[in-house]
Symmetry: C2
Subunit: 151 residues, 2 copies
C-alpha cells in the first residue's frame, strides 16, 4: 500500500509559523536561503510537510547555540543520502552540535581562567594578556616595545 499524501499533511505557512514559533516572514526568508523547500499549490501558495516543522525547529535550536544560518545549512546538507532527515539523522546532527557546545564551553573556561590571571595581575597588557593574544601572535607587526601599562 503506497502512502498517499493527504491534504492534511500539507501545511500552509501560517500554521507553520504557529507551530514553530517563527514568523511567517522568517520562514519565507529561510526558504530563500535554501533551508526549507516547500511545495506549491496550483495557486502558488507554499505547502510544507510535517517533517519541515522539525527542520525549522532545528534551525531555531541551532541558532540559539550560535550557529549562523550558513552553518546550519551546511550541517543539514551534510546528511547522508541527501534525503529528508529522519529521527536518526537528527540524532547525528544533534551530536555534532553537542560537540560544538563542548568546544565553546572549553573556550569560555579558558578565557575565564585567563581573565582570573589578569584580575590577579591587574594587567590587560597587550604583551602579556592571554585573552587579548589568543593565538600568541605577539610582536607580529610593528616596531619597538609596547609600553601599555605605565600610566
Amino acid at each position: 500500500m503506497a502512502k498517499t499524501l493527504s491534504s492534511k499533511d500539507l501545511i500552509p505557512i501560517g500554521e507553520m509559523a504557529r507551530r514553530t514559533g517563527l514568523s511567517v516572514s522568517a520562514i519565507r526568508f529561510y526558504e530563500d536561503k535554501g533551508l526549507v523547500e516547500p511545495v506549491r499549490t496550483s495557486g502558488n501558495q507554499r505547502r510544507f510537510l510535517r517533517s519541515d516543522i522539525r527542520r525549522l525547529s532545528f534551525i531555531l535550536i541551532a541558532q540559539q547555540l550560535g550557529l549562523s544560518l550558513g552553518e546550519i545549512d551546511e550541517v543539514m546538507r551534510g546528511l547522508p543520502y541527501g534525503r529528508t532527515p529522519n529521527a536518526r539523522d537528527w540524532k547525528a546532527i544533534s551530536a555534532k552540535i553537542r560537540d560544538r557546545i563542548e568546544v565553546r564551553i572549553k573556550e569560555l573556561e579558558r578565557t575565564r581562567d585567563s581573565l582570573d590571571g589578569c584580575i590577579g595581575c591587574g594587567c590587560l597588557s597587550l604583551e602579556k594578556c592571554a585573552i587579548y593574544n589568543p593565538g600568541d601572535k605577539l610582536g607580529e607587526d610593528g616596531p619597538g616595545p609596547r609600553q601599555v601599562l605605565a600610566d
Copy 2:
C-alpha cells in the same frame, strides 16, 4: 611637581591602530559611540592618551566575550568617579565580565544536557524539547496537539 604632558604622551590614531590591532576606522567609530574621547590638535587631528590603549584593548577583549559596544560602554561608564580607569578599575570591570562568562557557561551546560536528553530520545519535539522550550512556555498559543515526530 605637577605632571606635564609631553608630546610623546599624545598618540595619533595611526599609531593607536598599530598598537591595539584595531583599524583606524574602527577607532574613529568607537569615538563616535563615545567609547574613547581623544583630544584634538590645533589642526583637528586626534591625539590619544596612553591609557586609551588599555581602553581600546579592553573593548576588544569584551567583544570577544560577546558584549555589544553598547554593553561595553555601559560597563565602562559604571566606573566610580567617572574618571579615566586605572588598573584597579580594570580589575572591577574584569570581575564583572568574569561573572558574565560564568553565566554563559552555565547556560551552555544546561543546553548540552538538554541536548543529551534529546539525542537519547531522538526527539526535537516541540512539546517536550527542553532546548526548544527554554522557558517551558508549552502550549501557550494555538490549538490542539502538536504531532511533530510521527513520520
